[in-house]
């Protein structure tokens, strides 16, 4: 029960370093607030110690193409 991130239904959440995060924002030509959000107190990102404004990379497995990447701004 204690380690929610180990559950198979919870995809991998990682905190992106500032420079990589900037790259992603540049790639999509958006500001951080235009990304989907994730709450600071979301259990899935507790371990990453992310702060407001950080960007979280979520890698999910996909039925059709194997793996998909998703980004969220911490709010």
């Amino acid at each position: 029960m204690s380690k929610i991130e180990n559950h198979f239904l919870v995809p991998k959440h990682t905190l992106m370093p500032k420079d990589e995060a900037k790259k992603v924002l540049d790639q999509y030509a958006v500001k951080a607030e235009d990304l989907p959000i994730i709450l600071v107190d979301d259990p899935a990102i507790k371990k990453t110690r992310a702060e407001r404004g950080d960007i979280i990379k979520i890698e999910r497995s996909s039925f059709t193409i194997g793996k998909t990447v998703y980004y969220r701004t911490v709010k």
Partner: protein, 879 residues
């Protein structure tokens, strides 16, 4: 792109000061116009309030009718009056505050705690209400808290003594700004005393124009009538007060004033009799203007109406292409479209102008419009030159958008080419009924004519019917032949179907054939040959047919003979070598032939296929005919015995189960109780019994097709998959089997039994709703009753599920309507925020996919293999 963003919107309550400030003139009299019909100064129609007559100028801003937005006026109320729409809020405040000091009835420290809580205003208010409920004494000034009574909407009593609006106002004035925050008010925007009106704003006359009737009598707007009432009572109240009238009369007038102000804002308030017009019609107050289906929002702002549109009943016409829509002459004469005159179409348009009356207007390059009439026709024909535009009636080949509501998906509105017909209804090919979800039991559809070249091009590229063949949901054709179409094709391609030369030539004529093929069966043409004429010359396919499937299902001994199977399809070089064309070739989603034609050929190929096959099929099916007659459903003797046997088995087995259940020796199903296990087993028994007979019946029925001269009856429909199934057959000539309510045997009714004709606690098959009869023989009373129980549930389910899923879909569609896929394949909202980083997270659009998969792997591999084989051959030849 978006240049400015709205950061926030603030709502305020009009305060008396503001009302006075924005007032252009003070209204002092109830009169509107003088005897010459001019607006009276300081009256309710004063010309300072805006202009509604063209030519006049506004006395406030000096602008004409087009430019003057209208101006507010105002007048002072002699006695304040509560705005009834705020009464609920006032009630809350009165409950929670002290009438002497105006503070919230809680100690300072508690107020502070509440202030620091970060909760909704609504929650906060509820909390304050709860906590002040039992307070008897004000913690700030020690005044005793009285008992508040409310006579909704506008009358308040404290300890049975009326609180008049001016007392109310002074109470509300006392509440300090800091305490107001707890009610969710920012004192700068909202002070509660503004809920009590001291000044009445008078809306501009542009909002309540008077109408001059043909008889010359002026008729005022409902709002003006109401304002007249308010001003009149206000003046009477003033006179009475000044004359020192008794308190009772003044209070009566005051209440009357309150009534008129309340009904001016909302004439449908609970507890207030609606204010009536002289004719007895209730007046339309401000709230009524905005609220509901006929209100400003839903009727005028969300509900748009367009020109260049038509609506009519629809009917089928198999002689139209799927790209066409039949438009009655009456409609075609009314609808118009613009066409630019250029050097390329100059001669055509000039001829049209000269010889016909199709052209209604000519528009010169300087945008001057000229109506074409008999007198100026010659002159204009001479004048016409490239650069001019014409407006003409629609003719064959024009582009129209065709739509049926509810418009649930993209194919609910498709572009078609107009075909003007002498009929009275809009017509469409029955093949495109499916995407529109249309039938011809009185359905109506809408037609729109795009006016600009851009509009036409867009319609043709994005919405043309032939480009909509694939379902956007699962990527397989969903514009498909159905019912008669499939039955007809089936009959045409049966081995036994042959046509005399004379009949076959009719088909060739319909196809517009120039090279007449040689007869392939002596002097006759086979149906397969005729069907092959519709296929592209390089088509090569092999697959199992639905017919073969059904044969295998009906007869355990029947096995598909593969290469030799006379029912499985083999097409080579566009010739149907063997097999019958049924729903495995043509059906929705699973039709292999249609799928191939749509996927690997240009859209015109399938369009032409449908166009031609419709012509042939109509002929075939009207000539051969599919007829079901009653004795076709008579149960064969062999099966009658079979049924008797099975029914006995059902009863025997059923009784055995009951016995076991009662003795508690019944084998339990894991995870089920004893009772549940028993019920499930009883249901299963019913299904098992029904299934055996169903197969026998089907087997018997199939013989109709195997004859040298097949019978064109129900079997054709079942085997070709065009309509009906063996279950329907079973219900008609077999027996109904177990009646089911909510997936179980009917149980509700009386205690211990479903209907009073049964013995109590009879758990046997018959008492549990097993129906031995069929539709041909008819059921007995008990059976009929059980059958209706199941029937009722089916009816309720369809009703509920269409309603629920319809609304669910609407909400989903509304929330997704602004999303779009951008060039980098991201999905973004209207405001540019990212929703998905790759469309559907895998970049596959179902409409262009192969049944949901990005690539048809089997075909791809097959093609690779084939190309390898070819290259090998080439190499071999070289050596």
């Amino acid at each position: 792109m978006m240049q400015k963003k709205i950061s926030f919107i603030e709502f305020r309550v009009l305060n008396p000061e503001l009302i006075r400030k924005m007032s252009a003139i003070e209204i002092k009299t109830t009169d509107t116009y003088d005897k010459d019909g001019y607006p009276l100064e300081e009256g309710l129609m004063d010309s300072h309030l805006g202009v509604i007559n063209p030519g006049l100028r506004c006395k406030t801003c000096g602008q004409t009718m087009k430019h003057c937005p209208g101006h507010f006026g105002a007048f002072e109320l002699v006695r304040p009056v509560l705005h009834a729409k705020y009464a609920k809020r006032v009630e809350v405040i009165l409950q929670c505050t002290c009438k002497e000091c105006g503070r919230i009835l809680l100690p300072d420290d508690k107020i502070k705690v509440l202030q620091e809580r970060r909760v909704d205003v609504e929650d906060l208010t509820r909390m304050i209400k709860l906590r002040t409920l039992k307070v008897r004494k004000c913690p700030h000034c020690s005044t005793k808290v009285g008992e508040l009574k409310v006579d909704r909407p506008t009358n308040f009593y404290m300890d049975k003594e009326r609180i008049y609006p001016h007392d109310l106002r002074s109470w509300l004035e006392k509440i300090p700004n800091n305490d107001l925050v707890l009610f969710g008010y920012n004192a700068e925007n909202v002070r509660p005393e503004w809920f009590v009106l001291t000044v009445m704003p008078v809306p501009p006359i542009t909002i309540r124009p008077s109408i001059t009737l043909e008889s010359g009598i002026k008729s005022e707007d409902d709002l003006t009538h109401k304002l007249v009432d308010i001003v009149r009572i206000n003046m009477r109240l003033k006179e009475n007060i000044e004359a020192g009238a008794p308190q009772l009369i003044i209070e009566d007038l005051w209440d009357l004033l309150q009534y008129h102000v309340t009904t001016y804002y909302d004439n449908q308030m609970a507890g207030i009799p609606p204010s009536k017009h002289r004719s007895g019609r209730p007046l339309r107050s401000l709230v009524q203007r905005l609220k509901g289906k006929k209100g400003r929002f839903r009727y005028n702002l969300t509900g748009k109406r367009v020109n260049f549109a038509a609506r009519s009943t629809i009917s089928p016409d198999p002689y139209l292409s799927i790209n066409q829509v039949g438009v009655p002459k009456e409609i075609a004469d009314e609808l118009t479209v613009q066409e630019a005159v250029s050097e390329w179409n100059f001669d055509r348009i000039k001829k049209m102008l000269k010889d016909t009356d199709e052209i209604l207007y000519v528009i010169r390059p300087d945008e001057k419009r000229k109506i074409i009439s008999e007198e100026n026709k010659k002159e204009i024909t001479e004048e016409l030159a490239p650069g001019y535009r014409i407006e003409r009636k629609i003719i064959d080949g024009d582009i129209a958008l065709f739509n049926r509501q509810p418009s649930l998906h993209r194919a609910s509105m498709m572009a078609h080419r107009v075909k003007v017909t002498p009929d009275k209804t809009l017509k469409l090919n029955p093949v495109i009924c499916k995407p529109y979800n249309a039938d011809f039991d009185g359905d109506e559809m809408n037609l729109h004519i795009p006016q600009t070249e851009e509009g036409k091009a867009e319609a043709l590229e994005l919405m043309f019917a032939q480009n909509q063949i694939f379902s956007p949901r699962y990527g397989a054709p969903f514009i498909v032949l159905d019912e008669d179409g499939v039955s007809g094709t089936y009959i045409l391609t049966l081995d036994s179907s042959e046509f005399e030369k004379s009949a076959a030539y009719e088909f060739f004529y319909e196809l517009g054939l120039e090279d007449i093929p040689k007869p392939d069966r002596g002097n006759k043409y086979s149906g397969k040959l005729i069907f092959s004429l519709l296929l592209p010359k390089d088509l090569k396919m092999e697959y199992k047919s639905k017919t073969c499937d059904i044969f295998e299902k009906a007869d355990a001994n029947y096995k598909c003979q593969g290469e030799k199977c006379p029912y499985c399809v083999k097409i080579k070089n566009g010739v149907l070598l063997k097999g019958v064309i049924d729903s495995a070739s043509l059906g929705e989603g699973k039709g292999k032939l249609i799928d191939t034609l749509a996927r690997y050929y240009p859209p015109e190929v399938l369009e032409q296929f449908y166009y031609k096959i419709n012509r042939i099929i109509t002929k075939v099916i009207t000539r051969k005919g599919v007829t079901a007659c009653l004795d076709e459903y008579e149960t064969p003797e062999a099966i009658k015995k079979e049924i008797e046997k099975v029914e006995k088995e059902e009863i025997r087995e059923g009784e055995k189960l009951v016995e076991e259940y009662k003795k508690k020796t019944l084998e339990l199903i894991p995870g089920r109780t004893r009772k549940e296990s028993f019920e499930i087993k009883m249901m299963q028994l019913g299904f098992k019994v029904k299934d055996t007979i169903e197969k026998h019946l089907l087997k018997e029925k199939i013989k109709d097709i195997l004859k040298d001269k097949p019978e064109m009856n129900t079997t054709i429909m079942i085997v070709s998959g065009s309509r009906g199934s063996s279950i329907n057959l079973m219900n008609i000539s077999g027996f109904w089997g177990q009646a089911a309510v909510r997936e179980g045997r009917p149980t509700r009714g009386f205690s211990g039994r479903a209907i009073s004709l049964n013995k109590k606690n009879d758990l046997g098959p018959i008492a549990g709703g097993f129906i031995k009869s069929n539709f041909i023989d008819g059921m007995d009373v008990k059976e009929y009753f059980f059958h209706s129980m199941g029937g009722r549930q089916g009816e309720v389910d369809t009703g509920v599920s269409t309603k629920v899923s319809g609304y669910l879909y609407r909400r989903l569609a509304n929330s997704l309507k602004d999303l779009s896929v951008r060039n980098d394949l991201t999905v973004r909202s209207g405001g540019g925020r990212i929703i998905q980083y790759l469309y559907s997270e895998d970049g596959v659009f179902p409409m262009y996919s192969f049944k949901g998969q990005a690539v048809d792997m089997q075909r791809a591999l097959h093609l690779i293999e084939e190309s390898k084989g070819v290259s090998k051959d080439v190499k071999g030849k070289k050596k």
